[in-house]
C-alpha cells in the first residue's frame, strides 16, 4: 500500500480530505452499535433511525444551497448527478425537442453525456466563452431554439475557477419557455454562495468530496416549484422519488450533510484568508516573468489559480515539482499521451502553453508556508527548465 510522500497539497479542487467532524458523523452510521439500518426499512427502529439521519442530512444539504429538502436527490457524486440531469431531461422531454446547449469548457461529466446524446440523434450546440472563460448571456440567448430542452452550464469552472452569471442564464431560459437550466455546481459549495431558489435554476449537481465530505456521494437538486420532470437512469426500489433507485448509503449522505453544514457555517474571513493566499501565490509566481494567468481573475473563486509558464515543457515541469507540491496540470495524462487541456484550448491558449499550465487550488488547510513552498519549488523548476531549454 502506497502512501503519499509528505509534500504540499494544493489540489483541493480535485478532492479534499474528509473533515474529522464529518468522519466522526459517518462512523456513527457504520458499526453494530451505530445507525447501520436500511433507511428504507422503517418497519423497525434501526431503519427509522437511519431514515432520520438521511433526512437530517437532506435538510442540511438543502439549507446550504437554498433548496427545499424534498428537492434533493442523492446520487453517487456529481458525475451521476450530471448524467441524471442531462439524460433525464433529454428523454423525458424528447417529444418537445431534441436540442441541448452547453459550453466547451464544461467538465467531461457534462460533455460526454452530451456527445452520447448526439450519437443517439440529439443536436448539441457547444458555446465558446471569451478568452477569460466567461460566457456572455447573449450567446445563450442566441443559441436557444424552440426545440431546446436543456441548457447545461457549470457554476464554477473546475480548471480556471471562473464563475458564470447563472442568474442571467436562468432569466434567458425562463423567457425561452422550453429550456430547463442545469447547473453543475460541484466546485461551488464552500467557495461561493449558491442559492438554488434565488438563481431560478431547474437542476443543480453537487459533490461532497470537493467540500471536505466523502467521495462516492453527491446530489441532484431538482426544482419542484418549477415542476421539472426527469426520466431515471435506472430502476429498482423506487428510492429518491423513483429517480435514483437503490439503498441510500446512510453514512455517505450523513457525511455530505455534515460537510455542507460546515461549509455553510464557515466564517466570511475564511474566504478572505484564501484570497490573500491566492494573491501571495500569484505574485510569487508572476515575479518569474513569462507567467500567464488562465481565466478572468476578477470573475473567479479565490481558491483556484491556473497559470501557464512560457518556455517550459509541461511534462518536465510536472516531474520537477512533483516531489515538492501536489497540483494538477493542464494536460490530461492518459498513459503516455499528453493532451493539452481542452478548457485552456477553448480559451485560445496554444498547445505548448496549455501543456505547461498548473492548477493550484487552495483549501481549508492551506497556509502561507504552503504557498511559499509552492512558489519556491515552481520557481526553481521553471528557471532550471528554461535554462536547459535554452529559453
Amino acid at each position: 500500500m502506497k502512501t503519499p510522500s509528505p509534500c504540499v497539497y494544493l489540489d483541493y479542487a480535485a478532492t479534499t480530505p474528509v473533515d474529522p467532524f464529518v468522519a466522526a458523523r459517518m462512523a456513527e452510521c457504520l458499526g453494530r452499535d451505530g445507525v447501520f439500518g436500511n433507511p428504507g426499512s422503517t418497519s423497525h427502529e434501526y431503519g427509522e433511525a437511519a431514515s432520520e439521519r438521511v433526512e437530517a442530512a437532506r435538510t442540511q444539504v438543502a439549507a446550504t444551497v437554498g433548496a427545499e429538502p424534498a428537492e434533493v436527490i442523492w446520487t453517487s457524486g456529481a458525475t451521476e448527478a450530471n448524467n441524471l440531469a442531462i439524460f433525464g431531461i433529454a428523454h423525458y422531454y424528447r417529444a418537445a425537442g431534441r436540442h441541448i446547449v452547453t459550453v466547451r469548457t464544461e467538465h467531461r461529466a457534462v460533455l460526454d453525456p452530451c456527445r452520447e446524446l448526439e450519437r443517439r440523434g440529439w443536436r448539441v450546440t457547444y458555446l465558446v466563452p471569451d478568452r477569460g472563460g466567461v460566457l456572455d448571456p447573449a450567446q445563450v440567448a442566441a443559441a436557444l431554439r424552440p426545440d431546446t430542452v436543456l441548457l447545461s452550464i457549470m457554476h464554477v469552472n473546475n480548471e480556471i475557477g471562473v464563475i458564470q452569471d447563472i442568474a442571467a442564464m436562468a432569466a434567458i431560459c425562463a423567457q425561452s419557455g422550453n429550456a430547463r437550466l442545469h447547473v453543475d455546481a460541484a466546485q461551488s459549495v464552500g467557495k461561493c454562495e449558491v442559492n438554488f431558489g434565488a438563481l431560478g435554476v431547474d437542476l443543480l449537481s453537487l459533490s461532497a468530496h470537493k467540500a471536505y465530505g466523502p467521495k462516492g456521494v453527491g446530489a441532484l437538486v431538482v426544482s419542484r416549484r418549477r415542476g421539472v420532470q426527469l426520466e431515471p437512469l435506472h430502476y429498482g426500489g423506487g428510492q429518491e422519488r423513483a429517480l435514483r433507485s437503490g439503498t441510500v448509503a446512510t453514512h455517505q449522505v450523513v457525511g455530505m450533510g455534515a460537510a455542507f453544514a460546515l461549509a455553510k457555517a464557515a466564517p466570511r474571513q475564511e474566504s478572505e484568508r484564501i484570497a490573500l493566499l491566492q494573491d501571495r501565490l500569484w505574485h510569487g509566481l508572476a515575479s518569474l516573468g513569462g507567467v500567464l494567468r488562465n481565466g478572468d481573475g476578477a470573475r473567479s473563486v479565490p481558491h483556484l489559480l491556473n497559470v501557464s509558464f512560457e518556455g517550459v515543457e509541461g511534462e518536465s515541469l510536472l516531474a520537477a515539482i512533483r516531489p515538492h507540491i501536489a497540483v494538477s496540470t493542464g494536460s490530461a495524462c492518459m498513459s503516455i499521451h499528453q493532451e493539452p487541456s481542452y478548457v485552456l484550448r477553448a480559451l485560445g491558449r496554444d498547445d505548448r502553453l496549455a501543456e505547461s499550465s498548473l492548477r493550484f487550488s487552495l483549501g481549508r488547510f492551506s497556509n502561507e508556508a504552503d504557498v511559499d513552498t509552492a512558489v519556491a519549488a515552481v520557481s526553481h523548476a521553471v528557471e532550471r527548465l528554461r535554462r536547459i531549454g535554452g529559453a
Binding site: E313, R387, I388, G389
Partner: protein
C-alpha cells in the same frame, strides 16, 4: 507518467547542460519547440595522432524528462570516444536503459538527429566543407 531511477537521476542532475562557444565548438540541433521536443548538442573535439576524440559536449533540450535524461547521458558518455555520427548506444538500447515507452521513440530519434547534426557540423568544418545538417 513514471520514470526509472536512471531517468530521474539524469533529469534531476542534468550533467552537461549548457552550451559551448568559440573556435573548435560545433553545434547541431533537431526538433522544434512548437512540436514539443527540441534538442541541441555542442561538441568540442581534440584531434591527435590522426584520431578525432570528443573532448567536451554540452546539450540543451526543451523536452520531456526522458529526452532530457537521455540527452544528458549521451553528452556525458560521448566524451573520450572517437567522433562518430552514432550515439554512444543505439536508440533501442537507450529506450530500454531509460525504460521509455515505445510511443516516445520518435522523441529519441530527435536526440539522435541532433547528435548527427552536431557531428556533421564538426566534420564539415574540420574538412573545410560547408556544414550538412542532419
Amino acid at each position: 507518467m513514471t520514470y526509472n531511477e536512471l531517468t530521474r537521476r539524469y533529469f534531476e542532475n542534468t550533467p552537461c547542460a549548457g552550451v559551448l562557444s568559440g573556435p573548435g565548438s560545433y553545434r547541431g540541433a533537431a526538433g522544434s519547440r512548437d512540436q514539443g521536443t527540441w534538442v541541441q548538442f555542442d561538441v568540442q573535439l581534440d584531434s591527435n595522432a590522426g584520431v578525432t576524440i570528443v573532448q567536451k559536449v554540452r546539450f540543451l533540450a526543451y523536452a520531456c524528462p526522458h529526452v532530457i535524461a537521455v540527452s544528458a547521458w549521451v553528452a556525458e558518455r560521448a566524451v573520450g570516444l572517437e567522433i562518430t555520427d552514432q550515439l554512444p548506444e543505439s536508440v533501442q538500447c537507450l529506450r530500454e536503459r531509460f525504460a521509455i515507452p515505445v510511443e516516445k521513440l520518435g522523441r529519441l530519434l530527435i536526440v539522435e538527429d541532433a547528435w548527427i547534426a552536431a557531428v556533421r557540423a564538426a566534420r564539415a568544418a574540420t574538412a573545410g566543407l560547408p556544414p550538412r545538417l542532419g
